[in-house]
Amino acid sequence: MNGIHDVGGKHGFGPVLVEQNEPYFHEEWEGRMLSMMIACFAAGIYNVDQFRHPIEKMDPRHYLMSSYYEKWLCTVEQNCIDAGIVTRAEVDARHAQLMEGKAA
């Protein structure tokens, strides 16, 4: 698809910003996301192409603003929903519950 992901040759993104001494993971959840992505792949929930496609279908604004691990969350969640393992409502509810727990 002619998605926002296809950025090769586009102007206007500005300089390449390099973070010195970049850590392997900036936050703990990034490592969980990486490993969940591999575990779900190994479980046969998606192949590499099924993994990539939902990222291309993200809202272009969300795509450009989000980190790569956030994009991975979007596609792993979508693939797990498509495979009938979880529903969006279940993820929304658990997410809300955890946010409430944190706020409390």
């Binding site: 992901h5 296809d6 950025v7 090769g8 040759g9 586009k10 102007h11 993104f13 500005g14 300089p15 390449v16 910003l17 390099v18 973070e19 970049e22 392997y24 936050e27 703990e28 959840w29 490592g31 969980r32 996301m33 990486l34 490993s35 969940m36 591999i38 575990a39 779900c40 479980a43 929930i45 590499v48 990539r52 990222i55 809202d59 604004r61 969300h62 450009l64 603003m65 989000s66 980190s67 790569y68 691990y69 956030e70 969350l73 979007c74 792993v76 969640e77 797990c80 393992i85 979880v86 279940e90 993820v91 658990r94 997410h95 519950q97 955890l98 946010m99 944190k102």
Partner: protein
């Protein structure tokens, strides 16, 4: 046309780390994932995957002409012999930098990167500016990385759109004739194997 009220904040997933946790806990309850396996994957990445692996490949190629030929001829087999083939580095191609050719690697469509040899990619490699610009203006991008490529040197940009993963074999720095393979590996930076840098000289 409706007014776009989206602020940056509400385009992103709120408390994204908690949504990751929510998904992980649900998948674990449904026996789709085993959190202990996730722990082990993270540990493996943190302890066994990273540019030090690629550096060993490069140092070996610098010191062993037979290995160098093999690496350039069949990157997958030559890298496999050192144990660095695996997820997101299943099919490897080595690209040789010379005094007349400078190679640089990108993935414009996502962020494909050879995990077993280089580890996980830095943020800039995954960023839109790098992916957008390095194919159309490689020389100015390389200049931002401190590499001034002379006009008579050919720049080759490799866009890993398929399932081949690329590793740049940087030029061996001068003044390193007496160094051991291990000492040479210490000069091989991550960026020199992406092509946005060169190997360090021993005086560094």
């Amino acid at each position: 046309m409706t007014t776009d009220n989206h602020s940056h904040a509400n385009v992103l997933i709120p408390e994204v780390g908690l949504r990751v946790k929510a998904l992980e806990s649900l998948l674990a309850e449904k026996k789709a994932i085993d959190p202990a396996a996730l722990d082990l994957i993270i540990e493996t990445f943190e302890t066994q995957m990273g540019p030090k692996n690629g550096a060993k490949v490069v140092a070996k190629a610098w010191t062993d002409p037979k290995y160098r030929s093999w690496l350039l001829e069949d990157g997958t087999a030559a890298i496999k012999s050192l144990g660095y083939i695996g997820v997101q580095g299943e099919n490897m191609v080595a690209l040789e930098n010379t005094p007349t050719v400078h190679n640089v690697v990108v993935c414009t469509l996502c962020s494909c990167y050879p995990w077993p040899t280089l580890g996980l990619p830095p943020i800039w490699f995954k960023s839109a500016p790098y992916r957008a610009r390095v194919v159309i203006e490689p020389r100015s991008v390389l200049k931002e990385f401190g590499l001034d490529v002379p006009d008579d040197v050919e720049v080759r940009v490799w866009d890993s759109t398929a399932e081949l993963r690329y590793l740049v074999l940087p030029m061996r720095p001068s003044g390193t004739e007496n160094l051991t393979e291990q000492e040479l590996a210490a000069l091989v930076t991550r960026d020199s194997m992406i092509g946005t840098g060169v190997a360090q000289s021993p005086s560094h």
